[in-house]
Symmetry: none
Subunit: 229 residues, 2 copies
């Protein structure tokens, strides 16, 4: 879900830093950890990030100074501060610097995640969502428009057809798990939905059969595999 969202984390405490790094990575973020504000600033300027989490108190360059520097070159990137104290003055100073949120230690991982998610929802994360499109032989598939351009004209895919094909194409040459797919598209992996999915697999096979390079292969008991030879 947070795939391709890159995150800059500045934290001098080794333990907390590692903990956060690991946690956020398991949540799908690309995380870069910096041990102080100066290092963080260098990383920020030499690379590009979608989100910042800064400890307020750090050696060499503190979080506020870091934020101030960054705001001068990036007016929009979300910044969330971590602090040991829940001092109100600190809080206000942080917001004045263009902070997007503020979290006092100790905090729970879930709360941190909840806040990051809330902020990201607002921001247009432009991290290029690779649009699972397909272009093989005479077949051209446009998922956003739900169109499948075939040899003999264009077919408008129905919602389910499109959702399924999109998942298949996105997982080209990998097994698309049966249960997971059912939950993703049908919301529930019960027997009847399973049969419904099989019907849609048959439909897609029929549509795609004009290109012999494409195959939707079944992996017994596991799922389906979209193969392009």
């Amino acid at each position: 879900m947070n795939q391709n969202v890159s995150l800059l984390l500045a934290e001098d405490d080794e333990n907390l830093g590692q903990l956060l790094h690991t946690f956020l990575k398991t949540k799908g973020f690309e995380v870069e950890l910096a041990r102080n504000g100066k290092i963080a600033f260098e990383k920020f300027t030499s690379s590009s990030f979608d989100f910042c989490i800064f400890d307020v108190m750090m050696p060499v360059m503190d979080g506020f100074t870091l934020a101030k520097e960054i705001r001068e070159i990036d007016r929009k990137v979300p910044i969330l501060f971590l602090t040991a104290k829940a001092m109100k003055e600190d809080k206000l100073e942080g917001f004045a610097l263009g902070a997007d949120d503020y979290l006092a230690k100790p905090f729970s991982m879930e709360e941190l995640l909840a806040r990051i998610t809330a902020i990201l929802r607002r921001v247009e994360v432009k991290s290029t969502e690779d649009t699972a499109h397909l272009k093989v032989g005479k077949i051209n598939y446009e998922p956003e428009l739900r169109l499948l351009h075939l040899e003999d004209g264009t077919k408008k895919l129905t919602t389910k057809e499109n959702q399924l094909l999109q998942l298949l194409v996105k997982n080209e040459n990998e097994i698309l798990d049966r249960q997971a797919t059912l939950r993703a598209i049908w919301g529930d992996d019960n027997y009847f939905n399973g049969r419904s999915m099989d019907v849609y697999i048959a439909k897609l096979r029929k549509l795609l059969k004009e290109d012999p390079a494409i195959e939707i292969m079944n992996v017994h008991g596991k799922g389906f595999k979209f193969i392009v030879k």
Copy 2:
């Protein structure tokens, strides 16, 4: 500074409500005060707001339920919750609903303002006037005036036509949930209102068909998606 930023405040406590109302108005916001969630929802659907502040505990309809309803028709409008308790579970539930922030009573006016400002900084403040207006090809839509300028003259939209088109446009390229839309415009999502809505969808399609770049697509069982290519 906050000129033209319209704010929906839902608070059942008369005193606090008045206090906030007055304070926020002096800070330049256009404030609408609702005494409970139901009234707030009606105000939200019949008008348009840039920011929401909801008390969690209110009679008739609580803040969370209100937020849930609103999120279905507006995925982006910032929501800040006020609550008596600083309970962590509450907090997480709020964020899960797409809250942007959370403030436990008692709080200071400055802190509230700081948080509103922080959130608004990262939201494209599209101050209500130009919300959801549409200008594609030869079609120009003015929601406030309920006018649709077409190639062959201007069409005055009826109330329902306008409400529906406005919601569609506001959720461009996203699915507009069927039930939520019915509740928002018709107040109830029963079968007949559903059929009525389908009739209006047909009307809008007919009106907009002169521009082939516009499409109102159905997502079976879910709702409609307004697409501009």
